[in-house]
Amino acid sequence: MIDTATRKGTRDNAAVGKNGADPVNLRAPGSIEAYRADFERQPAAPEWLRSLRAEGMARFEALGFPTKNEDWHFTSVAPIAEQSFRTAMINKAGVSSEGSTAGMVAAADLRRFTFDQPTWHTLVFVNGEFSENLSSYAGLGEKVRVNSLAKAIHSGVGRPERHLGKIAVFDNHAFTALNTAFIRDGAFVELQADAVVDQPIHLIFVAEGQGEAVSHPRNLIVAAQNSRASIIESYICVRDNLYFTNAVTEISLGEGAHIDHYKIQLESEKSFHVGTTQIRQARDSQLHSFSYAVGGSLARTNIYTSLDGDAATCTLNGLYLTDGVQHIDNQTSIEHIAPNCPSHEVYKGVLDGRSHGVFNGKVYVHPEAQKTDGKQSNNNLLLSPSARVDTKPQLEIFADDVKCTHGATVGRLDEVAMFYLNSRGIGRESARTLLTYAFAADVLETIELKPLREQLERLVLARFAGSES
């Protein structure tokens, strides 16, 4: 007869062996302990925040860094887990002091990231900390309040605790849990009912790039009913160094609210970036999201929205451009909870060098979400023989009266089109630039904010033309 006990034992070992097939142990206790140490050293905070942070830390410790599961099928976070980053500010002074790091970054450093739009409301964060000196956001109108989250926490204005951690849930998201453990600063944007912000609100997160530092910016955007605004988050660096940005943005859209959200990820090529934008949408609300991801040696952008109310709509578009040995992963999730919601999604990728691009788009239709109309597509262009792309568009549908489609393509430049251009006297290099640009520009055209669209078009064109972007 079989020895059940023995077999059980062996199987358990096998399980560990299989998951642990990765060369590193992703639980990397060393680095998790470093996070714990920094967590303990955080300066005093209100009771609600202390307990929220503690929940985040406990959850992060329980989850560990993600191993190869469905959400991280194509991306290994080993490079992040192996590194012991120190929390940016605490490492310096042990306590927070307004503007302590801002001196490292000058307004001139930021000029090329501000789209030459002096009228935009700009909030600058250096290593995750708000910099009053570098920011300018006057004249927002009385229905709009924009504040540093740290200030709001300190003063209690706007009571951020009503929303923080309610939208960006972290039961299963280690990086969101980690960010929650270190909630300290970021932008807090409140739009009262019917508020309309004419000029975009631009949040710039600058990594000053000294020391192997991690920052955990946390943004909260609360848009009450029928309010309207365009919000841009730019992630940039002033030095090409190794650091880690672990950002979380929570957005609540009230009934009929309309938010255009742009995420521009231009991190250093040596850096790591994990950013999650999580949105909840009430009835008739509209979300237009655009993600532009070109930076980081290992970068992951999550855009998750939940269509909670009838006839809420969302558009999630994105463009990712990779080169060298970059690894850029884009994950989106659209959860159709209420009926009659249309969702549209187009992500495009252009992959060069030995880089690796990933797209994982999930559309989940709950049983009550009848009359869902979901369209999703992901197109990838491989420019080099060593570039690699993995795409996984997925549909999970539990309502019957729905129309959902998705499509994915992978290919290289169309030889026929190349030939056509060549035959008109356009050289191979120019033709390649032109066609690559045309592929990418297609999705850039969906950006409604003209100066931003034009700037990104310039950046993309310059990149494909081979000059510095």
Partner: protein, 478 residues
């Protein structure tokens, strides 16, 4: 939707009878002794026993996979019976020697091992609880040098072919269920088509699980040598029983240079009752290897039965210019669950693959398409086209699509399209306005939806598949 369709509810599973036949059964449970016993009963050469034991030892270290989108209670592998054969399994010279009770079973199933079928030009091997009970048309095939017999017999008569090809596509260590199969499989079908021979008729196997508490672990191996071609059909049924029965088969296909293998399945294992009680767990590993240049392997499956279906007929496109195809219709009703799809692994240059999957979910069924298309760095010029459509009938079912596309060569071209929608009320009304009954309208619309797959099936199978589809969906629209 319509009262007319309600009348369709719950037609009985037509193949749910139990055949009372004397069987030779080994004790329940699994250990090396049982494996030695199975191997001895089959009078196998040493290499087979060694291979089985290697697989068994490997299996002990493996964990039952649970990444599929299916749910079921734990399986107690020690309570299963791993070998059950109709008594008197001595080589049969003619059909007269087959147990008349067994022949009646096959007649009830609508397949006959007799003249009729021969006239239809189909060579049939029938597997009854893991053991092959007769192969027809052998003489005609023999003249062409085609070997078509039970796996057990092939081990005796052509051990060199078995030793050369067994496990070369699905290794003994491939996955939990494949390893279990390698350890305990008791029979299956074997076909070898020699160089340059086009098999002139469809080869066919009918599988049936009869005994209670028996796992069926058959293994099929089909080899098309250089320039050969063969089309193979597989059909399955099982009696109605309250217990779940495990079916963990392995199919290996090999196509050498310029060879073609077409493999068609109509799977109608017992699916359990409306409460989800009973039914077959169909955990199957099917894989083909396009080993040679210009070779082609094509899978067509119509999956209407089983409580749970978990299978991914795949193609390894190794030879340059080789072609892989997967055409699938998967239907779930009642509480059935299916997680099925394919893998196309592009290794050779200019390899092409096509995937067409049609999923139909009704009742409280849950249907998932899971497919992998992988283009490896050397697969220059690889192409894939995937189309994956789901239809929902009723609001308690689910339809999921999980495509994995992994590309490591920039000369590859891949297209994936998927859609999910409900069966059209307007379509049903249009049909009814023309005088067509609701039940006929549903089956007509669904058949139309699946037409691209049905047209890949050999004619007589296509008719059977359409009928099964109709039966499976009965009562699904209320």
């Amino acid at each position: 939707m319509s009262s007319g369709i309600e009348a369709l509810v719950n037609r009985e599973y037509a193949y749910g009878f139990v055949t009372d036949i004397e069987t030779d059964t080994v004790p329940a449970g699994l250990n090396e002794g049982i494996i030695r016993l199975i191997s001895a009963k089959k009078n196998e050469p040493e290499f087979m026993l060694e291979w089985r034991l290697k697989a068994y030892r490997r299996w002990l270290t493996m964990k039952e996979p649970h990444w599929g989108n299916v749910k079921y209670p734990p399986i107690d592998y020690n309570s299963l019976v791993y070998y059950s054969a109709p008594k008197s399994v001595k080589p049969l010279q003619s059909l007269d020697e087959v147990d008349p009770e067994l022949l009646r079973t096959y007649q009830k199933l609508g397949i006959s091992l007799n003249e009729q079928k021969m006239l239809a030009g189909v060579a049939v091997d029938a597997i009854f609880d893991s053991v092959s009970v007769g192969t027809t048309m052998r003489e005609e095939l023999g003249k062409l040098g085609i070997i078509f017999c039970s796996f057990g017999e092939a081990v005796q008569t052509h051990p060199e072919l078995i030793e050369k090809y067994l496990g070369t596509v699905v290794p003994h260590s491939d996955n939990f269920f494949a390893a279990l199969n390698a350890a305990v499989f008791s029979d299956g079908s074997f076909a070898y088509v020699p160089k340059g021979v086009k098999c002139p008729m469809e080869l066919s196997t009918y599988f049936r699980i009869n005994s209670a508490n028996t796992g069926q672990f058959e293994r099929t191996l089909i080899i098309a040598d250089e320039g050969a071609s063969v089309s193979y059909l597989e059909g399955c049924t099982a009696p109605k029983r309250d217990e779940n029965q495990l079916h963990a088969a392995v199919v290996e296909l090999i196509a050498l240079d310029n060879a073609t293998v077409k493999y068609s399945t109509v799977q109608n294992w017992y699916s359990g009752d409306a409460e989800g009680k009973g039914g077959i767990y169909n955990f199957v590993t099917k894989r083909g290897k396009c080993a040679g240049v210009n070779s082609k392997i094509s899978w067509t499956q119509v999956e209407t039965g089983s409580a749970i279906t978990w299978k991914y007929p795949s193609v390894i496109l190794q030879g340059d210019n080789s072609v892989g195809e997967f055409y699938s219709v998967a239907v779930v009703n009642k509480k059935q669950q299916a997680d099925t799809g394919t893998k196309m692994i592009h290794i050779g240059k200019n390899t092409r693959s096509t995937i067409v999957s049609k999923g139909i979910s009704a009742g409280e069924g849950n249907n998932s398409y899971r497919g992998l298309v992988r283009v490896l760095p050397k697969a220059t010029g690889a192409r894939n086209y995937t189309q994956c459509d789901s239809m929902l009938i009723g609001n308690k079912c689910g339809a999921n699509t999980f495509p994995y596309i992994e590309v490591q060569n920039n000369t590859a071209t891949l297209e994936h399209e998927a859609s999910t929608s409900k069966i059209g009320e307007d379509q049903i009304f249009y049909c009814k306005q023309r005088g067509v009954s609701a039940e006929h309208a549903v089956s007509m619309i669904v058949s139309g939806f699946c037409r691209e797959v049905f047209k890949e099936l050999p004619m007589e199978f296509a008719v059977e598949a359409q009928q099964l589809l109709g039966i499976t969906l009965e009562g699904s629209v209320g």
